[in-house]
Amino acid sequence: MEMEKQETYDIMAVCLLAGKIMLQSGAETYRVEDTMMRIASSFGAYQSHPYVTPTGILFSVEGNEPTKTKLIRIVERTTDLEKVAQVNGISRRISAGEFTIEEAYKELKKIGESGSPYSVWIHVLAAAVSSGCFLIMFQGEWRDFFPAFITGGLGFLSLMYFHQLVPIKFFSEFSASLLIGLQALFFVTTGIGGELDKIIIGSVMPLVPGLLITNAVRDLMAGHLISGLAKGADAFLTAFAIGAGIAVIFSFF
């Protein structure tokens, strides 16, 4: 009896760790719930109920013994698709019976502790390149490519820097977009850049919460009402921060 109880807790620990990594890395709500249930049932816990919201996971397992429930808080959320893919792979292998509970836990822990596959500078470069490309996609002129490239790259770098300085998302996004606005203004007033609007739109694209907005609407449609509303609020706050940062520049301009 004692043995079995321990095992249920171990199963729950594995499921919660998997769910936590996925949720922190930006997976959709249904995917997190689905993965947790699959892992639980492949370890023999057929009756499990994950309840996933962006800020916490509630998980309970029914069995012969009294139902066990656990709650974990999620504070930090980023987007790390590599981790989502890795946990997904682990879940597939668990379903195929390749892992014991302990091995699975160790493997997941390794994924959770691993850093980003790209360095900071690659991120900044990617943001810079995508800013420039977005400028062209939104019918900007080629002479604005360079200003957008610099503005987008430095904007993204400052976002990461400010986020380290003050761990409040709103402020880092606000400050980053403020900086983007200032740089774009600088380029246009010195005559290097042409269209202020296009440069700013291209440069803020790496900050825009596109993934969140779309995930929010999808969650709402799938019936995950709490998650949908929470993600919507998160996305709105980000959009508002970006808008406010740019708005400050315009009110001086």
């Binding site: 893919a85 808008g243 315009f250």
Partner: protein
């Protein structure tokens, strides 16, 4: 000429976005491809006078189908490909103009644009969900999922 420009830039922008989102390195090329397909379709429809919302639905529907294809082929979550695909469609420019109009006290235009941005993000989601539903219907009609439903 413009179309070549758009093809190249949308490919690079989508792939670069996957790097920002820490996507797996081996899927960068496919992500770029998905993003490019979606954007070019949207671009062609929009420049030929199709309504923005409808063009977005069609483009995101196509993106979702392409994403599901790649996800199945390479056994990775759909989200990796669909994120790359939808990023160019996200109404960043409209949202920006809405915000700008708010600041300039032009509330009529601002609400107008904000509603449009909301409609477009809704239609991105509709396109994605639509293709998912169709995918599920096809799978269910093959009676594959019954085995999983028993316990």
């Amino acid at each position: 000429m413009t179309i070549v420009e758009q093809i190249i830039t949308s490919f690079i922008a989508s792939a670069a976005f996957v790097i920002i989102f820490n996507g797996p390195k081996r899927s960068l090329f496919h992500c770029g491809l998905v993003g490019m397909i979606g954007w070019i379709l949207y671009f062609l429809l929009e420049t030929n006078g199709v309504d923005m919302v409808l063009a977005t639905v069609i483009a995101s529907f196509t993106i979702a189908i392409a994403s599901q294809y790649f996800a199945k082929k390479y056994k990775t979550p759909v989200i990796i490909y669909s994120v790359a695909g939808i990023i160019p469609l996200v109404p960043g420019g409209i949202a920006y103009n809405a915000m700008r109009s708010f600041v300039e006290n032009d509330y009529n235009l601002a609400i107008n644009l904000a509603a449009k941005a909301f409609m477009i993000s809704g239609s991105i989601a509709i396109g994605l969900v639509f293709s998912e539903v169709i995918n599920q219907i096809i799978r269910k009609s093959k009676l594959k999922t019954i085995v999983n439903k028993t316990h």
